[in-house]
C-alpha cells in the first residue's frame, strides 16, 4: 500500500481496499463434478475429496487447460452446484443455499476477476466499478462514488469518465479488479487474470491484484498458467495432479 493510504478504520471504509475480518475458510468436501463429452459419455471434471483454503490465504491454482480450474472457481462462487459433495464458506454451506440466497451470498462475499475482463463497454470507468451497487440499491450514494474513486486511484486509473471500450487491455483488467473489490469481498476469485495481457501489463496487473488482496485481507484463489503470478501466491495447488493439496509457492 502506498504511503498515506494506511487503513483508517475497520470494516467497510472508503479509504481502504476491503474488510479483512470477514474472510472465512473455504472448504471443498467430497466434491464431484461430471460432464458429458460430445458422444454423450460422462466424464469426471472434478474430484476433490477434501480441500481447505484457510481464511485470508492467497492460493494459486495450477493445472493444464481443461483440468477443471475454472469449474473449481465457479463452484466456489456458487455459479453452479456440484453433482456430489459440498462447498462451504465458514458455517455457510454454499452448495446447499437456494438460488436467491446464493446470489445474495455471492454479492456480499465474492469478487470475481475474469480472464477477459468482461466490462460493460458502453459504460465509463466509474459506472463499471459501481455496477455491483446497482444490484441492490436504487440511488448511488456519495460513499459509493468515493469508494469507486479510491479503488480506481489505487488501481492507477485516473480518468473515471472514459468509456471502457476505449481502454487498453491492462486498464480494462485494472477496472475489472476495482469492480471485483467494490463490495469489499472476503473472497476474491480470479480466473487467469493475466492470460489476456502482454507480459509487461501481466506483471503490473498481477502484482496489483496480489497487493490489493493482501491489503483487504480477503482470501484470494487465483487460477493461472502465469508462473510469475503463481510465484506471488503464498501457496499453490496443482489440479489434475493427484489429490488437490496445497504446496508452498515455487
Amino acid at each position: 500500500m502506498p504511503d498515506g493510504m494506511a487503513p483508517q478504520d475497520e470494516g467497510f471504509g472508503n479509504a481502504r481496499v476491503g474488510g479483512s475480518t470477514r474472510a472465512k475458510s473455504l472448504h471443498f468436501s467430497n466434491v464431484q463434478v461430471d460432464h458429458r463429452d460430445g458422444d454423450g459419455q460422462p466424464f469426471r471434471v472434478l474430484d476433490i475429496p477434501d480441500f481447505v483454503v484457510p481464511p485470508g490465504a492467497m492460493i494459486g491454482l495450477r493445472g493444464p487447460s481443461g483440468s477443471g480450474k475454472t469449474s473449481l472457481l465457479h463452484l466456489a462462487a456458487g455459479f453452479f452446484l456440484p453433482d456430489a459433495g459440498s462447498i462451504s464458506w465458514g458455517d455457510v454451506v454454499i452448495s446447499a443455499l437456494p438460488g436467491a440466497a446464493r446470489d445474495r451470498w455471492r454479492r456480499e462475499t465474492v469478487g470475481f476477476v475474469f480472464q477477459d475482463f468482461h466490462l460493460v463497454p458502453e459504460l465509463d470507468v466509474l459506472a463499471n466499478i459501481t455496477l455491483p451497487a446497482t444490484f441492490s440499491g436504487w440511488r448511488q450514494t456519495s460513499d459509493q462514488v468515493a469508494r469507486a474513486t479510491f479503488l480506481a486511484e489505487r488501481m492507477g486509473l485516473t480518468d473515471l469518465r472514459r468509456r471502457a471500450a476505449v481502454l487498453s487491455r491492462g486498464e480494462q483488467q485494472r477496472v475489472a479488479i476495482a469492480r471485483a473489490l467494490f463490495n469489499a469481498p472476503a473472497l476474491i476469485l480470479a480466473d487467469e487474470p493475466t492470460a489476456s495481457l502482454d507480459p509487461a501489463h501481466a506483471a503490473e496487473v498481477g502484482s496489483l491484484l496480489v497487493e490489493v488482496a493482501k491489503e483487504s485481507g480477503a482470501t484470494l484463489l487465483c487460477a493461472s498458467h502465469d508462473q510469475a503470478l503463481l510465484a506471488r501466491m503464498q501457496q499453490v495447488a496443482a489440479i489434475a495432479d493427484g489429490p488437490l493439496q496445497l504446496k508452498a509457492a515455487a
Binding site: 462462487a77 438460488g99 446470489d103 465474492v110 459504460l123 446497482t134
Partner: protein
C-alpha cells in the same frame, strides 16, 4: 436494485438497431392511428355538413348522387323536378321552410347555387360575417373561402359535369361557356361552415332561372324574392331542401314525396348507408393495419431474442458479479418494452401528423373540413400494441432469467 444504467448501456450498444426498432413500431402505430381517426373525422365532418338538410326532395334517381350534389356540391348533371312543388311545400302546414337548390353554374371554379334568403342564412342559424345576405336579383353572398371580394362582379358560366375546375381561376373551359350579359355583385360573405358550401356563391334562385332564360318564376317585376312563385311558368330545380316542423311531419313528407315523380329522403339515412360501407372499408383497413403491427412486432421480437442470445455472456457476467435473476430479467424487459413504448408514443404523434396532412389534402379536394382528434379507440389500439409488445418482451427476459451463469460465461 436499479437496472437503468445497464438498460441504457444495452440501448447504447444497439444504437441504430434501437432507432430502427422505434421507427418501425412508430410506423406501424401511426398507420393504425391515422386510419381510425381519419375515418371517424370523415363521418363527423360529413354528418355536420348535412346538418341543415333535414329532408331532400329531387327527381327519382340515385339518392347518393343527389346527396353528393346538394350537400357536398359535387358537379353532376341531375334531372329537374317541377318548380311548382316549391309553392306546394311552402303552403304545407307540416313544412317550416323550403328552399330550392339550383346548381350547374360556376364562377372562377366556385359553384354558383341558386336558393332562397332563408337557406342562405341557414334558416336563421348564421349571420354574414361581412356585408349582408342578398336582397334582390343579381346579388350574391360568398362562402368563407370564395376568392371574390365584396363588390366584385361575378360572371357565371355553365358548368360541365365531370370537369373539375381549379378554384379561384376562370379557365378556358369556363370562359368558353360564360352566360354573356349576366353578372352578380357580391354583397356579403358567410362565416365558415366547414363544409363545401364555404366555396360556394349563393344567389337568389330567381337569378339562376333568369340567367338561363327561364324567367324568374314570379308574375310581375319587382316581386319579393322567394316563394310563393306565381309566374305562368315556374322553372324546375334539381333539389329541394325541406325543414319539417316536427319529426312526425318529416316522415309524413318523406312518404308523400316518395311517389308521384319525386324522390324524398333524409340525408342522414343515406349517410348511414355510406358510413356502413365506409365502416366496412375502415374495418378492413384497421384489421390490416393491426396485422401489419403484429407482423412488425413479431419481426422485432425475433430480432430482440437473437440480440439477447448474443448477450448471454454479458448477462451471465452480471449474475457472476452478484446480480439477482430479477435484475437481469428487468434489464432485458425494460430495454425492449422501453423501445416499444417510445415507438408507440412516437407513432401517436406521427399518426396525428399524417392524419392532419391527409385531412388538409381532403379539404383541398372537397371543402369538407375534417377536425382530427385522437379518440379512445386509437389510445386503446396503441395500448394493445404496447401490452402485446411488453408481454412478448417477457419471453427473452425470462430466457435470460433462467440461463445458467456457467453456460452463459462459456458464451
Amino acid at each position: 436494485m436499479n437496472p437503468l444504467p445497464m438498460v441504457i448501456a444495452d440501448l447504447r450498444a444497439l444504437r441504430w438497431t434501437a432507432a430502427a426498432i422505434v421507427a418501425l413500431v412508430a410506423l406501424a402505430v401511426a398507420i393504425g392511428v391515422s386510419i381510425g381517426a381519419q375515418e371517424r373525422a370523415l363521418r363527423q365532418a360529413s354528418a355536420r355538413a348535412a346538418d341543415d338538410f333535414d329532408l331532400l326532395i329531387g327527381a327519382p334517381g340515385s339518392q347518393t348522387q343527389l346527396l353528393m350534389s346538394a350537400i357536398y356540391l359535387q358537379p353532376e348533371a341531375l334531372p329537374l323536378i317541377d318548380g311548382r312543388l316549391i309553392n306546394e311545400l311552402a303552403r304545407d302546414p307540416r313544412v317550416a321552410a323550403v328552399a330550392p337548390l339550383a346548381f350547374g353554374d360556376i364562377a372562377r371554379g366556385h359553384p354558383v347555387i341558386g336558393t332562397t334568403l332563408g337557406f342562405a342564412g341557414r334558416w336563421g342559424r348564421v349571420q354574414p360575417s361581412e356585408g349582408r345576405l342578398f336582397a334582390r336579383e343579381g346579388e350574391a353572398v360568398l362562402g368563407a373561402d370564395v376568392s371574390y371580394r365584396l363588390g366584385d362582379k361575378i360572371e357565371p358560366s355553365h358548368a360541365v359535369a365531370g370537369h373539375w375546375p381549379k378554384r379561384g381561376v376562370a379557365d378556358d373551359e369556363e370562359a368558353s361557356r360564360r352566360h354573356e350579359g349576366h353578372a352578380y355583385v357580391a354583397v356579403g360573405r358567410l362565416p365558415r361552415l366547414s363544409s363545401p358550401f364555404d366555396r360556394a356563391i349563393l344567389v337568389p334562385v330567381e337569378s339562376v332561372w333568369e340567367v338561363h332564360g327561364l324567367g324568374n318564376g314570379h308574375a310581375g317585376e319587382g316581386a319579393a324574392l322567394g316563394p310563393p312563385f306565381d309566374g305562368q311558368r315556374i322553372p324546375g330545380v334539381p333539389a329541394l331542401v325541406v325543414k319539417p316542423k316536427a319529426v312526425a311531419d318529416a316522415y309524413a313528407l318523406r312518404a308523400r314525396y316518395r311517389q308521384g315523380g319525386t324522390m324524398a329522403f333524409f340525408p342522414a339515412e343515406v349517410l348511414v348507408g355510406l358510413y356502413r360501407t365506409l365502416g366496412d372499408v375502415g374495418q378492413v383497413l384497421s384489421v390490416a393495419s393491426l396485422l401489419n403491427a403484429v407482423l412488425i412486432l413479431a419481426a422485432i421480437f425475433l430480432l430482440l431474442v437473437a440480440v439477447t442470445g448474443l448477450r448471454r455472456r454479458r448477462y451471465a457476467v452480471l449474475r457472476a458479479l452478484g446480480a439477482p435473476r430479477a435484475y437481469v430479467l428487468l434489464v432485458v424487459w425494460l430495454g425492449m418494452a422501453g423501445l416499444v413504448a417510445v415507438g408507440c408514443a412516437l407513432g401517436l404523434g406521427l399518426g396525428a401528423a399524417a392524419a392532419l396532412a391527409v385531412s388538409g389534402l381532403f379539404e383541398a379536394q372537397t371543402g369538407l373540413r375534417l377536425s382530427f382528434a385522437l379518440g379512445s379507440a386509437e389510445f386503446a389500439q396503441v395500448g394493445l400494441i404496447l401490452l402485446l409488445g411488453s408481454l412478448a418482451a417477457l419471453i427473452p427476459a425470462a430466457l435470460s432469467y433462467r440461463r445458467s451463469i456457467t453456460a452463459g460465461l462459456r458464451g
